[in-house]
């Protein structure tokens, strides 16, 4: 199976030949890859070099935390890649941004109101968690649409709080 993996600006073509061999940008490597304790911690031996990293899946692809550095990665197989190249890779950005709670917490302030125009970086909600006040900001300019929570309300992780249209 051949994959096209992107980290930042860099693109790697990685072919998984069998469980001990891969080809990275045309160069063959011997690998031994193990999950540690069944956890998302992985040990890779590649041509004798030993590396260990956390590998997490997230909404946009993969996150690799390796020696204290975070590498966000996208991995697509050859077929997907061809399709994307042919038809344009980026789907049109949806018109609505849903602000979700990044952690469980208590809503302590909502300094905006329905229908208000906001700029990128404006504080939308202040959420208290672990004794800290955390400001949730707008990732882009727009108009506040549906505020679904109130001050003093406890929210769950990933709960939708409001929308920016």
């Amino acid at each position: 199976m051949k994959y096209i993996t992107t980290i930042g600006e860099k693109e790697f073509v990685i072919e998984v030949v069998d469980e001990e061999h891969i080809i990275v940008d045309g160069v063959g490597c011997k690998v031994n890859f193990e999950s540690v304790s069944g956890e998302p911690v992985y040990s890779l031996l590649i041509d004798g070099q030993s590396h260990e990293a956390y590998v997490y899946e997230d909404d946009e692809g993969w996150e690799v935390l390796l020696q204290g550095s975070l590498y966000p990665a996208t991995v697509v197989d050859e077929r997907e890649h061809r399709l994307k190249s042919a038809f344009g890779s980026d789907p049109v950005q949806s018109g609505e941004f849903y602000l979700k709670a990044p952690m469980p917490g208590l809503v302590v302030a909502i300094p905006i109101e329905d229908g208000q125009k906001v700029e990128e970086g404006d504080v939308l909600i202040i959420l208290e968690s672990m004794k800290m006040q955390n400001e949730l900001k707008s990732p882009r300019a727009g108009t506040i649409a549906r505020i679904r929570v109130g001050i003093g309300e406890n929210v769950e992780r990933r709960q939708t709080l409001l929308s920016v249209v």
Partner: protein, 502 residues
């Protein structure tokens, strides 16, 4: 003389105090909230009693219940740890009124140092220099504070009157932004301390935050255990401390140590406490505040002086004299503490909660870990994000930095995001290595993403690992779909799959 101690706290510090009690042959009583039934402090104590629901105000701040439990269980002393009720003079007084020993200072000392105005007046009278500010003027309204701010000059700090630990603290650079910052500081102070009062203080730029550990017994002996360098802070929360300070020389240490002792004496201080100073580039130093309790970062002082501060606290509370005199205190070697917080350093240090499924602790020579979490524990949103303190010590600062690097790389925690990568970046920072930093370093001149430039990076290794995991997922999905057929994929790395079927 007491022989059963109630620990009115949770997390790593409750465990730390429990251990000291055990090692002194004292019986221990833990208290816990609904969220903490499986906490280490409950597991390690001889007795444990439920306080109430998870929120602090319903559990760890319920002084009435805590005293009731002490009486019921026969605990004849209470150790408050840090945070929660540790700096509440009324609590200390209530404990003493019940004939229970309070392992900490006298209520009058807590009150004197807790009210920043009184503290300032007292230490000034004792000849200790202070930073200009409004703390002597009582609780001012927003209007008053806005009026007085330009006289102090910008930048300045809003600080919580009842505060400590950076909670309710805000930096103000111009008058216009001040109303909003006042509101948020008061809100945070109210929720952290139950007291929304704030005061203003001049922000000394390019300053270091250096503090002195004090021990004082009931026989009038007051000593200091040298300094801790605590300049590396974010939003006024300490992240990393070391002892000694790379900025210190023997002459300055002696001068500041004497002033620290004098400041403690000015409130007739007893037990362990910490005098915080700001020190500017010219080695002028200003009294900032006194923390009238055990400090989070006390282990680095223990590592370099060999004094067990918690055991010393208990010793003092039992009416004994200090185990050492000032001349017997020597600072040997070097120690650094990294505070490991459940925060994602790549998402603006947003707190992270979850179920800890796996922990691999760094061990070996010169490594100490103080923690309250373990695999199987759930990190809840109710309390502080501090989950562990990684303390490393050795002969020289260089050795300790290298040791900390390997310890941070070894440390694995799965289930929540932690700020370990932040500390790894710090250990690689040339300015940190050179000891060139001040209290604004982390926020203004340090970026976790930029320090690694010039270091050997491994994007291709990251790409390979992401690809192999993605491939494994694809294979596994195929495997699940075809699970009635014979498995021919035979991938070595089906670790999780194997484990589930073990």
């Amino acid at each position: 003389m007491f022989n059963k101690v109630l620990i009115a706290n949770r997390g790593e510090i409750a465990v730390r105090i429990l251990r000291a009690c055990r090692e002194l042959g004292l019986e221990t009583v833990a208290v816990y909230s609904d969220a903490d039934r499986k906490s280490l402090h409950v597991r390690y104590a001889d007795e444990a009693y439920l306080l109430g629901p998870a929120p602090s105000r319903d559990s760890y701040l319920r002084s009435d219940k805590i005293i009731e439990i002490a009486k019921k269980s026969g605990a004849s002393a209470i150790h408050p740890g840090y945070g929660f009720l540790a700096e509440r003079a009324d609590f200390a007084q209530a404990v003493i009124d019940e004939g229970i020993a309070f392992i900490g200072p006298k209520p009058s000392s807590i009150a004197a140092m807790g009210d920043k105005g009184v503290a300032r007046a007292t230490v000034t009278a004792a000849g200790v220099p202070v930073v200009p500010g409004t703390e002597a003027e009582g609780s001012l309204s927003d209007d008053d504070l806005l009026k007085v701010a330009p006289e102090i000059g910008f930048p300045l700090l809003i600080k919580a009157t009842a505060g400590g630990g950076g909670k309710g603290m805000r930096e103000v650079n111009k008058l216009e932004e001040m109303p909003e910052l006042l509101a948020s500081a008061r809100r945070e102070a109210e929720s952290a301390f139950g007291d929304g009062n704030v005061y203003l203080e001049k922000l000394v730029e390019g300053a270091r935050h250096i503090e002195f550990q004090i021990l004082a017994d009931t026989h009038g002996n007051v000593i200091h255990l040298g300094e801790r360098e605590c300049s590396l802070q974010r939003r006024h929360q300490k992240l990393l401390e070391e002892s000694p300070s790379p900025f210190m020389d023997e002459d300055l240490r002696q001068k500041m140590g004497e002033v620290a002792v004098r400041a403690a004496q000015s409130v007739e201080y007893v037990n362990a406490g910490t005098i915080e100073f700001l020190v500017d580039g010219e080695k002028n130093f200003y009294f900032l505040e006194m923390n009238t309790r055990l400090q989070v970062e006390h282990p680095i002082t223990e590592a370099v002086t060999g004094v067990d501060i918690v055991k010393e606290q208990i010793r003092i509370a039992r009416g004994r004299t200090l185990s050492r005199q000032q001349e017997e205190i020597q600072m040997n070697g070097w120690a650094i503490e990294c505070r490991v917080n459940a925060e994602d350093p790549y998402s603006n240090f947003m707190p992270s909660t979850g179920y800890i499924s796996h922990v691999l602790l760094p061990t070996g020579p010169g490594v100490r870990v103080d923690t309250g979490v373990y695999p199987g524990f759930e990190i809840s949103p109710y309390y502080d994000s501090l989950i562990s303190k990684l303390i490393v010590f050795g002969e020289t600062r260089a050795e300790v930095i290298l040791r900390m690097r390997r310890a941070l790389e070894e440390y694995k925690i799965v289930g929540v995001r932690t700020n370990i990568p932040f500390h790894q970046s710090m250990m690689d920072s040339h300015r940190f290595m050179a000891g060139q930093f001040d209290t604004q370093f982390v926020e203004k001149r340090f970026s976790i993403d930029k320090t690694r430039k010039g270091q050997e990076a491994h994007p291709h290794i990251a790409a390979i690992m992401a690809t192999l995991v993605a491939h494994q997922h694809t294979q596994r999905s195929a495997h699940v779909i075809q699970r009635n057929e014979r498995d021919t994929s035979n991938w070595k790395w089906m670790g999780r799959w194997e484990r589930i079927h073990r």
